[in-house]
């Protein structure tokens, strides 16, 4: 995870649910590179073909509501998205993002700052997101330490891997 993330913005609406991110018909695709071809097919049909690595997705409230499908953040990650920002998140989607190492920033008021194609600069640790075109910004409560730690190591797989190694080292042989 970078402390400062800068990227070109895609804007999404309010209450974008997981069906809008990746439809049920794609849930048998286990390859993220296949999934990414269909990411935001319903919520933002132009995204998949035009997204570039490092782009930032900015959504309104309740982003990622609906199902528990990790295919949603997996497809977003495969598309190379640098961070997802939302006025607020649905809980399983938020957790899935962090677990996969996708920086998810809850910044109330962020959505109203941006138009498609603006450049966003996210100061992850201090808790500020700036629109580089307009200079306007909003602050947000930085992620709590245990979630920053998860992002720093790259997600939950690596964190648990380290925990298991430490556990084995402690165990009597």
């Amino acid at each position: 995870m970078q402390d400062v993330i800068t990227g070109r913005v895609w804007v999404l609406g309010d209450d974008v649910d997981t069906d809008g991110i990746i439809g049920g018909k794609y849930l048998t695709l286990m390859d993220p590179n296949e999934l990414k071809k269909h990411v935001f097919e319903i919520a933002l049909p132009e995204f998949a073909a035009n997204a570039r690595p490092g782009d930032i997705v900015v959504a309104g409230p309740n982003f990622g509501s609906g199902s528990s499908r990790e295919a949603a953040p997996a497809a977003i990650r495969a598309a190379g998205v640098g961070a997802v920002v939302a006025d607020s998140f649905a809980r399983i989607f938020f957790r899935n993002c962090i677990n996969l190492g996708v920086t998810a920033i809850e910044a109330n008021g962020a959505r109203a700052l941006f138009e498609k194609g603006d450049i966003a600069r996210i100061e992850v640790r201090t808790g500020r997101i700036v629109n580089e075109r307009t200079g306007r910004s909003v602050t947000f409560p930085p992620l709590p330490p245990h979630l920053l730690e998860l992002l720093e190591v790259g997600g939950l797989v690596e964190k648990v891997r380290r925990e298991l190694i430490a556990e084995r080292a402690r165990a009597p042989t």
Partner: protein
């Protein structure tokens, strides 16, 4: 006021039990020991992270259930591969409790039927409607497959203690008005993000009078309000339901009388009409009597899903269906929530009532609910459904229009070809 001086909600007390931390307050992060972990097809995506974590074994095979339900039997090569991954994983890691083709059912329903989740539990599943098991007086919540991999390895996960919304319900549900109508009304009021990250506790005389299957329906759709969990405290009905089937020790817990609730919602159901959630959100809820005036023509009708496909739902619908025909040009799909329910419906002659009427009665699965298996809509088609979601694209095409309603109301739509008031059929 310091919340710590108050009593505690059901969620706080259960999280205390599973974390060993007393006096939990909302926002506090705790590590909870998992009592039951459930994987459906999405669990196939837990296998690779589980191996990458370097886990050598599953923390407790007796606490893990695999239940395939979205594509049963496999409806595509992709689904077949997913099922095989799960079967191999179960064999390799000695997981004895897999509900596979033949004794399958919707994951939440088989967990309920076989007593896998009991009062006081912390249960997690790879499906968002895991909230349904909160009806057992448990904290039951959906997680993603990478998180599940960590649970399989460690037997625990971190949780942020949620604030609680108490929903107190009084009054008597009228004839033809069901627990589904009650929860639709509540979703309409609280809205799809109104309980985000929160726990919902249902209390009051109306809730106490509900059967366990009705409580399942109620807790199931707390997911549609963004809730982390939705619960009814265990009572005599819970204990009776679980008698002889509980898979592990029960810890019935009640909220303290002086528990601190973030919000209290009072609902009186006296005189409440049946409800419908209109496209394109489960919170776009209106009285059925209003929607009926619009003469909404339906192409497909679905009686199924973890929300409403239990034997009680099928019986209620069959009483109305008997001796009637499905309207010309309408496809009525009925999919029981489990194989046990299928068999019971067979014994009671319920299947024949539906098939005589011109409906299709399928094997148990999530079926038409999620737009990835069967019962897909063509663009612009309309479906009346007993399921839980009606977002754009939920049954396939973005334009498909889904109206959510009770099982009985689906019969009226199927018979008349337009959304209708089932109380006029009775």
């Amino acid at each position: 006021m310091n919340q710590a001086n108050h009593g505690h909600t059901l969620a706080e007390k259960i999280l205390s039990r599973v974390s060993g931390v007393d006096g939990i307050v909302p926002g506090q992060i705790v590590e909870g020991r998992v009592d039951l972990a459930m994987m459906h097809e999405q669990g196939a995506s837990s296998v690779e992270p589980f191996r990458a974590m370097g886990a050598e074994k599953v923390w407790d095979p007796e606490r893990v259930v695999i239940a395939i339900d979205h594509w049963v039997p496999a409806s595509s090569e992709g689904a077949a591969v997913i099922h095989r991954i799960l079967r191999k994983f179960a064999t390799e890691y000695h997981l004895p409790h897999m509900y596979d083709v033949g004794n399958h059912g919707i994951c939440h329903q088989v967990l309920a039927e076989d007593g896998w989740v009991v009062p006081g539990d912390l249960a997690v599943g790879t499906d968002s409607h895991t909230n349904m098991l909160g009806a057992m007086g448990a904290v039951a919540s959906g997680i993603g497959p990478t998180e599940m991999a960590a649970v399989l390895a460690l037997g625990r996960l971190w949780l942020k203690a949620p604030p609680t919304i108490q929903i107190r319900v009084r009054g008597r549900l009228g004839p033809g008005v069901t627990a589904k109508d009650l929860i639709l009304r509540i979703v309409g009021e609280v809205k799809t993000s109104g309980a985000a990250y929160k726990s919902i506790e249902f209390t009051g005389p109306t809730i106490e009078a509900l059967s366990m299957p009705e409580r399942f329906t109620l807790c199931n759709m707390t997911t549609e309000m963004g809730a982390k969990c939705g619960m009814v405290a265990a009572d005599g009905k819970t204990m009776e339901y679980l008698a002889g089937i509980a898979k592990h020790a029960m810890h019935p817990i009640s909220a303290d009388p002086d528990a601190h609730y973030e919000r209290v919602i009072d609902i009186d159901v006296d005189g409440m009409p049946p409800m419908v959630a209109c496209p394109y959100s489960p919170d776009n809820v209106r009285p059925l009597t209003d929607v009926v005036k619009e003469q909404v023509k339906v192409d497909q009708v679905f009686l199924g899903s973890c929300t409403n496909a239990r034997i009680e739902d099928l019986r209620e619908a069959a009483v109305l269906m008997k001796g009637r025909k499905v309207h010309a040009g309408v496809r009525y799909i009925v999919s029981p929530a489990s194989t046990a329910i299928y068999n019971q419906a067979l014994r009671e002659g319920i299947i024949e009532i539906f098939t005589d009427a011109g409906a299709v009665f399928t094997n148990s699965s999530c079926s038409a609910c999620f737009g990835g298996n069967m019962g897909i809509l063509a663009p612009d088609e309309v479906c009346a459904s007993s399921s839980n979601r009606n977002f754009p694209g939920r049954m396939g095409p973005k334009e498909g229009r889904i109206y959510l309603m009770s099982p009985a109301a689906t019969v009226a739509a199927a018979v008349n070809g337009v959304i209708s008031d089932h109380r006029e059929l009775a």
